[in-house]
């Protein structure tokens, strides 16, 4: 396996203008909604890699090695030695069909030699938890499933996803890796610290949270955000992710991030379910702890990769937009921390998302995560 990084910016266009690699079978690319919406980037890539599967999405910032930026499109072209690929695109018109959509994609990718799945999904019109459940139900819990939900900076207005087509909203793209050469390592960690009282989810419907301890959830957030950050809702709500767990299973907690707020209903819509009766606790992040979390995710991915030391490696880093909103320029801390774990020989790119998909570090069950850094590393071993 080999991979090559290419970038695009309005001033220079694609750099390098012509790829060094031959037999490129897969291209990932990530950029802001504004840079991808016109479809020119896809068309240019298609022209450069006529035989490759090309998948990408809009983001809340792109990760390119140890840099985070908003002003260039990052892409990676990959050539596999023996690994076969299959790409599936599925439109989704109704959020309530998220699980069904996951099942459709999963079933289409399912084959006896399926070794892993990577998925990119619309970040605003899909219930990520349900999508993942549908996928896992179709491909089975043993197949590594990673990916992320597309982002839209701090705007939360529209996210785009494309697979062998111009990126568009309400799209889910999954790519299956087949054969026994491919190695996929994955890791996911947050580094957020819970704080303040534990609260009870006293009213919620699916991923819409109405009340915590009988108080409207949005009121609580506004109080914590203060007048300055309240103006930045819903994006600023990401500064205080929420950790939820079933009171009967306190060890299986998940972190949820806000997708939207309803000022009238004083409710908040999260990227995954917030079941009524569960326990919730606010979280906050410190730069060092978040960077440490990113390093932890990278470590997990490396451990799981089982690749030979000399082998070429390619890693996709998907980190939550909330982390970036909090850390500002210090966001490079987490990218560098992850990079340090992955090593120089790994080609690294990624993006800031509205949700991360990866198996749970403890339970091994694939889930939708929020506010984490998720690292998926690919390598190929010789036959």
């Amino acid at each position: 396996m080999e991979s090559e990084q290419i970038t695009w910016n309005p001033q220079a266009g694609w750099t390098p203008a012509k790829a060094r690699l031959k037999n490129v079978s897969l291209v990932f690319y990530f950029g802001t909604r504004q840079m991808l919406a016109c479809g020119a980037r896809f068309n240019e890539l298609r022209a450069m890699f006529p035989a490759a599967h090309i998948m990408g999405c809009s983001t809340g910032g792109q990760i390119n090695s140890s840099d985070v930026n908003d002003d260039e499109v990052v892409a990676a072209a990959i050539s596999f030695d023996t690994t076969k690929l299959q790409l599936i695109c599925q439109d989704i018109s109704d959020t309530r069909q998220s699980r069904e959509c996951g099942e459709v994609v999963g079933r289409a990718l399912s084959r006896a030699d399926l070794a892993g799945v990577f998925v990119l999904s619309d970040g605003l019109n899909v219930n990520g938890s349900e999508l993942v459940k549908g996928l896992v139900a179709a491909i089975g819990p043993g197949i590594p499933l990673t990916g992320g939900l597309a982002g839209d900076g701090a705007d939360f207005s529209e996210t785009l996803v494309g697979g062998n087509c111009i990126p568009r909203a309400r799209m889910v793209v999954g790519i299956g890796f087949y054969g026994n050469s491919i190695r996929i390592g994955h890791g996911s960690a947050g580094g957020w610290d819970s704080f303040g009282p534990r609260r009870r989810v006293t009213k919620s419907i699916g991923n819409v949270l109405f009340e915590l301890d009988g108080e409207p959830a949005l009121d609580l957030y506004k109080r914590y955000l203060g007048p300055e950050d309240t103006k930045g809702l819903p994006g600023s709500a990401l500064l205080f992710p929420i950790q939820v767990h079933d009171p009967e299973h306190p060890d299986s907690s998940v972190v949820r991030t806000v997708l939207a707020v309803d000022h009238e209903a004083r409710s908040m819509t999260f990227a995954g379910d917030v079941p009524q009766g569960w326990t919730a606790q606010l979280m906050h992040g410190k730069f060092d702890r978040l960077a440490e979390g990113a390093a932890d995710a990278a470590r997990q991915a490396q451990l799981g990769l089982e690749a030979g030391e000399a082998g070429h490696q390619f890693s996709i880093l998907i980190s939550c937009i909330g982390r970036r909103l909090l850390m500002g320029q210090r966001i490079i801390d987490e990218v560098e921390a992850a990079g340090a774990e992955l090593g120089d020989r790994a080609l690294r790119l990624g993006f800031y998302s509205y949700g991360e998909i990866s198996p749970h570090a403890k339970s091994g069950v694939c889930e939708l995560h929020n506010q984490t850094m998720t690292v998926t590393s690919f390598a190929e071993v010789g036959q």
Binding site: G226, E228, L282, L326, Q329, R330
Partner: protein, 636 residues
């Protein structure tokens, strides 16, 4: 240099290596702003969190305080409940032990420990059933096999069976032990000293079967025992059922008081017991009625001998609380199976025989005879016919003149009741009056005779008096005097023309009440005659007690007045007593001139009898008055 500033410099440096200072300054400034914002955010959130946690702490503290006081209150409640439970448990009359499913004592009360004089050091929570029974064995309050007993208890508990047993303690107490299995596999045992209860039960059973006064079997037990005897009567064997009614017991009670009456009954009971052989028994059926049952009788003579023994002992004078009391009895005898082997039949027959003995004048015994039943039946028919006659007007009042011995003139008439039976014709008063007295019909008849006769007498000449007989039964009615007044008022007859004839039985029974009535009658002017003098007790004290206007000498004295050694001396004596006390005398049943002559000689005032006239109907008597009046006019 900080890696951030290095990154910022890198970002502000163009491809040619020139640093854009403005860009760099903007990046550095932005980083400062970000730090400030993050610090403000952190400060704010920490402050809020502290407030929230403070509030939560306060809530928790309040909750803890509330819960603590709740717990304290509950604890106090529990203490009170425990105390009550303890008081209840230890004030139970029963001994109580609660065992758990492994047969170990959970709780037991003091009563249990006391009941068997056990040691509280042994009998305490945790001690096993076996330890406990073993301890009882050691101290001598349990006599059985310990292991066998424990196994039996555990077996029944396992089966979920409630067991009741009554055990006799070594000191003779009776203890009822109840084991009740519980749902959790344990059980509760209660021990109750039922010695007193059993004794009371026995007492109650005794009271239900024995007469409290004499301690003889009562009627219920008598029936039961007789029934048993009848059931196992051997062929050729006879049982005798002897009913004994103490004659005139009521008079003894009335005259000497209940205490002496009771004493007499007790003495009779003892005497009867002595008369009966081992195979027989005595019972008190109630009041003055006793029964003797003698089984395995060989012949009637044996019964007669027994009855003779009974009479001998009853007729012995009894010393009752210092009073010498003599008494007698009417006895009825029925034999089984000769007179019936069915209990009811036999009892009825013995009763009939006793009734016959009474009817024969008491103081005698009668064996049952089938005719007795017929007689009773006939009597019942007579009673029914009499009731019908009252309704149908089958009764009539006849009048027998009473004549002055001095001038042979009619001076009065005695009203006599006559019953003309539609089938049997005329029925003698001696036949139906006792029936009327027994059934209470006499009151109605008496009232009717009085009213009818008073009305009739108003049609007679003014100097002719009316005599009406009054039964002792009528004197039991407190309003009798009023009834007489009412009859006089209704008819318009002068009280001076009415004479009421009573027998000495009126005075025997309820002296004071009867005397009061007699005085009331006397007060309104009614004359009182003593009837049938000389036939009963003829106690002269009666004459002393009430100033009668007249004595009627019974026909039995008149009939042989003329014969040598006859009753002339008695008649003379009576007449003389009467004269001395300003009473007139009427001789009844005068049939011959000789009798009239003698009576006149003795100084008797009046006569009644066939010699002058039998009793006549109202119409006939009126005709007699008319004819006599005419004769007198002719004579004049």
């Amino acid at each position: 240099m900080h890696h951030l500033i290095l990154k910022q410099i890198a970002k502000a440096t163009d491809a040619a290596g020139a640093v854009n200072l403005n860009k760099l300054a903007a990046l550095v400034s932005g980083a400062y702003e970000e730090f400030d914002r993050d610090r403000r955010r952190t400060d704010r959130s920490m402050l809020l969190m502290i407030e929230e946690i403070d509030a939560n702490n306060r809530n928790l503290e309040q909750l803890v305080a509330e819960r603590t006081s709740e717990l304290k209150a509950r604890e106090a409640d529990l203490r009170v409940q425990n105390l009550r439970f303890d008081v209840a448990l230890n004030n139970m009359t029963q001994g109580l032990i609660l065992y758990d499913s492994s047969a170990r004592l959970i709780v037991c009360n003091h009563r249990y420990i006391e009941m068997y004089g056990m040691s509280p050091d042994v009998v305490k929570p945790g001690c096993s059933l076996r330890d406990l029974i073993m301890h009882r064995k050691d101290i001598g309050s349990f006599k059985g096999d310990v292991d066998e007993f424990c196994s039996s208890v555990l077996r029944n508990v396992a089966l979920g069976q409630i067991t009741h047993s009554i055990l006799e303690a070594t000191d003779g107490r009776l203890i009822e032990v109840v084991n009740r299995p519980l749902q959790d596999g344990g059980w509760v045992t209660t021990h109750e000293d039922i010695t007193e209860r059993k004794r009371n039960e026995e007492r109650i059973t005794h009271l239900a079967h024995y007469d409290a006064l004499t301690d003889l079997p009562n009627r219920a037990l008598f029936h039961e025992k007789l029934k048993q005897r009848l059931a196992c009567i051997a062929p050729g064997e006879q049982h005798a059922v002897i009913y004994i009614d103490i004659d005139e017991f009521k008079s003894i009670n009335d005259s000497l008081g209940h205490l002496i009456g009771d004493e007499l009954l007790k003495s009779v009971a003892v005497s009867l017991g002595r008369c009966v052989k081992e195979t027989g028994f005595v019972a008190r059926l109630g009041g003055d009625e006793f029964a003797v049952v003698q089984t395995a009788i060989e012949d009637q003579q044996e019964v007669s001998d027994l009855v003779a023994r009974i009479y001998r002992s009853i007729r012995e004078p009894y010393d009752c609380l210092g009073h010498q009391v003599t008494t007698d009895a009417s006895i009825g005898i029925a034999l089984a199976p000769q007179h019936g082997s069915d209990l009811d039949q036999l009892l009825k027959n013995a009763d009939l025989a006793m009734y016959a003995a009474k009817a024969a004048g008491r103081r005698t015994a009668r064996f049952f005879e089938p005719e007795m039943e017929a007689r009773v039946k006939a009597r019942r028919i007579l009673e029914m016919d009499l009731r019908q006659a009252i309704v149908d007007g089958g009764l009539e009042v006849y009048y027998q003149p009473c004549v002055s011995l001095a001038d042979n003139r009619i001076i009065g008439c005695e009203a006599l009741l006559r019953w003309r039976h539609p089938v049997r014709g005329m029925i003698a008063p001696s036949e139906f009056i006792p029936v009327a007295e027994e059934t209470g019909l006499i009151s109605e008849l008496g009232k009717w005779v009085l009213t009818t006769a008073c009305l009739e007498a108003t049609t007679w000449p003014d100097h002719i008096k009316l005599a009406v007989n009054v039964s002792p039964i009528q004197f039991k009615d407190d309003t009798f005097a009023l009834k007489v007044v009412a009859a006089l008022a209704a008819s318009g007859l002068s009280a001076r023309r009415l004479e009421l004839e009573i027998t000495e039985a009126v005075l025997i029974r309820d002296d004071e009440a009867a005397l009061a009535i007699l005085h009331q009658l006397r007060a309104i002017g009614v004359r009182i005659a003593l009837d049938d003098f000389g036939t009963g007790y003829s106690s002269l004290s009666y004459l002393q007690r009430f100033p009668f206007d007249k004595i009627k000498i019974d026909r039995c004295f008149v009939s042989d007045i003329a014969s040598p050694n006859g009753s002339s001396s008695i008649v003379r004596a009576v007449v003389s007593i009467a004269a001395a006390r300003n009473m007139t005398t009427t001789a009844e049943g005068v049939e011959t001139e000789e009798q009239r002559r003698l009576l006149r000689t003795f100084g008797c005032t009046e006569l009644q009898g066939y010699l002058f006239s039998p009793a006549r109907s109202a119409a006939e008597i009126k005709m007699l008055f008319s004819s006599l009046r005419a004769k007198r006019k002719v004579m004049v």
